[in-house]
């Protein structure tokens, strides 16, 4: 295992290093996943594996070979400090799809950190992350996209939206682009907002109590992260997310 990261390490700047220090020796090395050329694979993380001391971490190192597709859906929630690390290397004409939700309250700190390497031409990646944060929670998305010199016609998109239920919550969204090819599409959108008060009143005027109105809006909000999932996966991960949301709002 490597040495404990410091605040100076960019990818760890929002991490709870105090909590991490005690369990660092137990952090497993990244899980290696290879999607063979032309194949499709899907994975989900509905619960981040707990290491101990309130820390949970998932770490994936994914290689998507030429023409292959990897679809990943993750839920970061329900632990004091949770981190999902995803390093992806894309082959020619391959596709990486990530849908993630970060749901936190209290003084939880949850993060999804991706490093997406477009090593070959014509690969596409699409990352959709939705955060709902209450209390003093912190939700962080860091997405580094690296496009190699000969990775022409790369299309890499990131959409990151955060909803703060309380002013005391914090959303961090940090895209980082390293682009060495010239024929590249990299779209990044990040917003931070609150529940739309007009919509809440509109819903109340139709008879919806505040809790139900909130639930419908948050459900729709995080739903964006899971539209790309197969029906059964979507049902499972969204169901889990909704249960957590209900406790949260």
């Amino acid at each position: 295992m490597n040495a404990l990261p410091t605040k100076g390490d960019e990818a760890w700047r929002y991490a709870d290093l105090k909590l991490l220090a005690d369990v660092w020796q137990d952090v497993p090395s990244p899980e290696q996943i290879t999607v063979k050329a032309g194949e499709s694979m899907a994975r989900q993380i509905c619960e981040i594996p707990v290491i101990g001391n309130g820390v949970a971490m998932a770490d994936l190192d994914i290689v998507i070979e030429d023409g292959a597709t990897f679809t990943l859906h993750v839920l970061a929630a329900a632990v004091q400090y949770g981190r999902i690390n995803i390093k992806t290397t894309l082959g020619k004409g391959s596709h990486f799809e990530l849908g993630g939700a970060i749901l936190g309250n209290g003084d939880q700190s949850l993060e999804i950190v991706t490093e997406t390497i477009h090593a070959k031409p014509e690969a596409t990646s699409n990352q959709v992350v939705r955060s709902v944060l209450g209390g003093k929670a912190t939700g962080t998305f860091m997405g580094k996209v690296h496009v190699a010199r000969d990775a022409q016609r790369t299309d890499a998109a990131q959409s990151v939206k955060s909803m703060l239920l309380d002013r005391s919550a914090t959303a961090n969204s940090k895209p980082e682009l390293e682009i060495f090819a010239d024929d590249v599409l990299c779209a990044h959108g990040a917003t931070v907002g609150e529940l739309d008060k007009e919509a809440l009143f509109y819903m109340a005027s139709r008879g919806l109590d505040p809790e139900t109105a909130k639930r419908l809006m948050l459900q729709a909000f995080i739903g964006d992260a899971f539209v790309s999932a197969a029906d059964d996966v979507r049902e499972a991960i969204e169901g889990k997310a909704l249960t957590i949301l209900e406790a949260l709002s």
Binding site: Y202, M203, S205, R206, D209, P210, L216
Partner: protein
């Protein structure tokens, strides 16, 4: 049904309603006209209980006939009781969703978009939330769809539109028509319709007018129509027409008052 007395309300720190009084009985249709900025929408929002609309004086009571609670099955003689009783509520004491469940429907001048929430899901949850408050059983999916189809048909709205997110990407006129589909499904006692006619094309105006008549023109219901135009009043004939200016009702008359206003303007008629 609705009794507003000396209502005074602030929006933020500004007083907008300046002692407004108005009584609406069951079976009546009232029209409110008045210059831009007079406080018509403010009245509608205040009656709906919108946050930040603060009532500083006056009262609003809402009386409807509700199912009588059988106090005691033994002594409750069904032959002497119609099973219904009048209930008077202090509207200003209630939350917005409670007012809706009591039977008040607000047709918005600017209907709100709710991304990601379908009209059908929204309306079914709304209706069932209201039914729950009233102690009624929820409608099943099939029962609800049947009802939604019927009301969408009445307003000549395609069911496909109801599968889309609430008002998202709807044209101005479609949003207004959607308000009326919602009203049909929710089936309120009192509808407060804020410029539902604005933005409608000629055919849509007729459809909406007919819709209002068929949904709301009943002896146990009432309508408060806020409008700038006689065209709607030709279709939905009001029993009373009021002029609202500077936050209060300054003149009340019959349907002829609207025609007079159309001809001579607010300044001349309501001065």
């Amino acid at each position: 049904m609705l009794k507003i007395e000396n209502l005074q309300a602030n929006v933020g720190v500004t007083q907008i309603l300046n002692g407004l009084s108005l009584t609406i009985n069951a079976g009546e249709i009232h029209a409110i006209m008045g210059p831009n900025g007079a406080g018509k929408s403010t009245l509608a929002y205040t009656l709906g209980g919108r946050p930040n609309y603060e009532v500083t004086d006056g009262s609003v009571s809402f009386t409807t006939s509700v199912r009588a609670e059988p106090v005691d099955a033994q002594t409750d003689d069904p032959s002497t009781s119609s099973g219904r009783t009048d209930q008077t509520l202090d509207l200003l004491d209630m939350d917005p969703h409670e007012r809706a469940a009591a039977g008040i429907f607000l047709g918005f001048q600017y209907p709100v978009e709710i991304p990601g929430v379908s009209n059908l899901q929204f309306l079914r949850e709304s209706l069932n939330a209201q039914r729950k408050v009233r102690g009624e059983d929820p409608l099943s999916g099939a029962e609800f769809i049947k009802l939604a189809k019927e009301k969408a048909g009445l307003l000549k709205m395609d069911m496909e539109m109801l599968k889309r997110a609430v008002n998202v990407g709807f044209s101005g006129g479609e949003k207004k028509r959607n308000e009326m589909v919602q009203m049909g499904i929710i089936d309120p006692k009192l509808a407060i319709l804020d410029e539902t006619d604005s933005g409608l094309d000629i055919d849509a105006l007729r459809i909406v007018g007919d819709g209002i008549n068929s949904i709301m023109r009943k002896p146990d219901k009432a309508v408060l129509l806020i409008t700038h135009y006689q065209r709607l009043l030709d279709l939905v004939k009001p029993d009373f027409v009021h002029v609202l200016a500077n936050g209060k009702i300054v003149k009340t008359g019959g349907p002829e008052l609207a025609l007079e206003l159309e001809e001579h303007g607010y300044e001349a008629v309501a001065a």
